[in-house]
Subunit: 156 residues, 2 copies
C-alpha cells in the first residue's frame, strides 16, 4: 500500500528502443475502470498481478496503489471476466541516470500510441529528460490504461 | 478459482441463534458492485480478504469466485476507496447434518434483513431444511450484498 508518484510523457521517436535494457509483453484487463477505484488484472510474461489504484490528487501525480502477485493461471481466468477490451503492449525499460523510464508501445486498438512513465520519490524530484521524451501528459485521464480500454487511441 | 454453488434463503425467526457454533463480525465494501465482476474487500474479525465474483448462471446457483487473504491493514485501507456504503453484519455458523448454514444478520441501512446461505457440491445436492429456514431467494440479485450497498433493505 503506497502512494504512487509518477509522470507520463509522449514519445517523439523510436530511439528509446536502442537504449532499452529489457522488454516485456504485457496483457491486462480491468475488473473496474472507474477512476476512483481501478482494479487491474495483468499478465507480464509468466507472472500474474492484481493492482488496485485510487484516483489521483489534483496534480494527477500521486495515486493510491496496492498490488499483489497472483498465479498466472488465476490471472488468465480473471481476465476472462474483465470488462470488454484488453490492453496489449510491450514495455521497454530504459535507465536514465538514477531513474528508469518505462515506455509502453501499444498494439491493437491503441496501435501507434507510445507512453513513457517515470516513477519519482516526491512530486518535485528532478530528472534528466532523454532526447526522445515528448510532451508531458501526466494526469490526463484519457492516457490512463483504464481509459484506453473504453476509448482507444484509434478513436481519438 | 472455483465455481461457487450456493443457495440463499430468508429466515423466519431468531431460533438459529441458539444453534450457532460461532459468530463473526464482518465489515465489507465493494470496489466494483457490477454483477458481472464484483470486487469485494472484507474484514472478518482481524483478517482481511479480497474476493472477486463473476455473474451467476441462469439458475443463479453457480458463480465464479476467486479469493485471497490479505493483511487487515491493507483491507482497511482498501475499504476507504470502496464505493460509498459499507455492509456491516454478524455471521452465524450453524451445522445441519453434513452442511453448514451461514446466516447473516445485517445492521445499519440493512437492519432487519437476515439471510441464510448454504454451500453445495452440486446444484442438485439435497440438504435438510431447519425449521427457521424461510423462502428461497437464490439468484435474486437485490439480495446480493453488492446490491444491498446501493439499494439497502430499508428502502425496499
Amino acid at each position: 500500500m503506497a502512494l504512487e508518484i509518477e509522470r507520463k510523457f509522449l514519445v517523439k521517436n523510436d530511439a528509446f528502443k536502442n537504449e532499452a535494457l529489457k522488454k516485456q509483453k504485457i496483457i491486462q484487463g480491468f475488473l473496474s475502470s472507474v477512476p476512483e477505484r481501478t482494479v487491474r488484472i495483468r499478465v507480464i510474461e509468466n507472472l500474474g498481478y492484481i493492482t488496485i489504484k485510487g484516483i489521483g490528487n489534483a496534480s494527477g501525480v500521486s495515486r493510491f496503489e496496492w498490488e499483489k502477485e497472483i498465479e498466472v493461471e488465476e490471472a488468465l481466468n480473471l481476465l476472462k471476466i474483465c470488462e470488454p477490451g484488453v490492453i496489449d503492449k510491450t514495455r521497454y525499460y530504459i535507465k536514465s541516470d538514477n531513474h528508469t523510464f518505462e515506455v509502453d508501445e501499444f498494439y491493437g486498438e491503441n496501435n501507434g500510441l507510445i507512453i513513457a512513465e517515470i516513477e519519482l520519490i516526491s512530486e518535485n524530484e528532478t530528472f534528466t529528460k532523454p532526447e526522445w521524451l515528448g510532451k508531458e501528459v501526466t494526469g490526463i485521464t484519457k492516457y490512463y490504461n483504464s481509459s484506453l480500454v473504453k476509448n482507444p487511441y484509434k478513436l481519438w
